[in-house]
Amino acid sequence: MQLETTPRDDALVVTALMDRIDAAIAIQFKDDLRTVTNGEAPRVVLDLSHVDFLDSSGLGAVVAAMKLLAPAQKLELAGLGPNVEKVFRLTRMDSVFTIHSTVDAAFDGVAKAS
């Protein structure tokens, strides 16, 4: 399992440890993401900072996971590198997800609000 989970504030941070989310692992990734988030916090922040490459299969897996988690849980993304960000941007999927530059940035607003 290449996903690491860390509770933080009222959310769950899921760190993807693999360097590629491609056709070879997309389905496994989606299933594992669902497994580790099942029954957990309503806010899930997926840390993609270790991921150097993501293709349309990987994108589809992230979208599918987001749909599976909804409506009880919201999937947000953090730490997208340039190649990963490019895929979300070109397909306009960056308008569908809440995307943070880093995991810490995903929690800055919450800290300031309290």
Partner: protein
């Protein structure tokens, strides 16, 4: 095991079975060879993405019923970018042409968001001179990826 050849005319050719892990390995080997061209990260990212999408299509569609079908990728650096040729012996593309890759609309409810169909959109967005033909039972896909523009 994918076999990579460095051809005399500065082209690179690799032949590999149409399976996801073999695609990954072949892509890695090809990207390693392309480091000799000293491309920008931006260009390398585009190349790797387009090649992955095109090769995945072969595995998932052309070879849907042929798990051991072979794929041949040849890349030729030119003044105008990298010219790529992909050849497989799988089923033809639907209606004899490469899909248009029109993106599905995203202004819908979450449960209606598309989970697929992005591959051809990305290929057409990032590559030029896309051409698909079928000759003697083989699919031939060629395209060019510009480099050095940014």
């Amino acid at each position: 095991m994918p076999q990579l050849q460095n051809l005399n005319n500065n082209s690179f050719r690799i032949t590999f079975p149409g399976k996801p892990l073999a695609v990954r390995s072949a892509l890695a080997q090809m990207m390693e060879q392309l480091t000799a061209l000293d491309l920008s990260d931006h260009d390398r990212g585009n190349i790797e993405l387009v090649l992955a999408e095109a090769m995945n299509n072969i595995v998932e569609h052309a070879y849907i019923d042929t798990p051991d079908g072979m794929v041949e990728l040849q890349i030729t650096p030119t003044y105008n970018g990298l010219v790529c040729h992909l050849r497989d012996e799988g089923v033809p593309m639907p209606e004899g042409k490469a899909p248009s890759g029109s993106p599905a609309p995203l202004d819908c409810d979450t449960e209606e968001l598309p989970e697929g169909g992005f591959g051809w959109f990305l290929i057409r967005d990032l590559a030029h001179d896309l051409n698909y033909t079928r000759i003697s039972g083989k699919n031939l896909l060629s395209f060019r990826i510009s480099v050095g523009a940014t």
